[in-house]
Subunit: 109 residues, 2 copies
DNA sequence: TTTAATGTTTTATGGATGTCGAACAAGGGT
DNA sequence: ACCCTTGTTCGACATCCATAAAACATTAAA
């Protein structure tokens, strides 16, 4: 049973969050996760890259404090840390997601 | 008299904006620019890097559509494209600047 | 106990990026 | 004319980063 390391709220850095969201593949994943509103295994969200690459992206998102990853059986359940991010940086994730939805459709990537 | 190239509003990309803001030096510059509320020459804002490096950073900010650069005499006047960004991605720059001010003091960098 | 499913880690690679010094360009002031 | 100020550009360098194949780990299912 793999245990994942997550930053605490006060360890979350703005530049790290922005950097994590600045990649199209990662932003699209976060966008999908927000739309689905519930915990999702990595594989449930279609991506244009290899699974090893996706594993790397999810690690970046996790270490930035944007998503939470939890093991359940063979799959990794991912969820947005909405509350934590809103507490730390009010409005940021929200406006970014709105902006993402206004320009890119989820299926494009 | 040097002429600078700026993206139009519909050419501005969210991932490019986020990437531009994800660098501490650039974010700090934007933060200062927002505080001063008026057009500023590059040199008016203190930075921890060489001027050639700063020139590169300002280019990234300009090409992302975050700042406008205009030549006046020997100096380059920089200003935030607040209106354009608000039109394209409502709330994004605003919340990011608020978040930046809540964690990093301008003088630190 | 095999076999399949789901991710992670490792290793490698090509491209982008932040950094700086030196040379250059252009204006203003003396 | 000369120099100073202010930036830009170029070349170089070290580092980071997105990508993927291959091997591995773990759990579920047959």
């Amino acid at each position: 049973m793999k245990q994942y390391q997550h930053p605490t709220v006060d360890q979350i850095s703005l530049t790290c969050v922005l950097h994590a969201l600045s990649d199209p593949v990662r932003l699209n994943y976060v966008q999908c996760l927000a739309k689905l509103t519930s915990e999702q295994p990595c594989g449930a969200i279609p991506t244009p890259v290899a699974k090893s690459t996706m594993s790397h992206h999810l690690r970046v998102l996790r270490e930035a404090g944007i998503i939470h990853i939890r093991t359940e059986g063979t799959q990794s359940m991912t969820s947005l840390r909405l509350h934590d991010l809103e507490e730390k940086f009010p409005g940021v994730l929200d406006s970014v997601l709105k902006a993402a939805n206004s320009t890119t459709s989820v299926e494009e990537v």
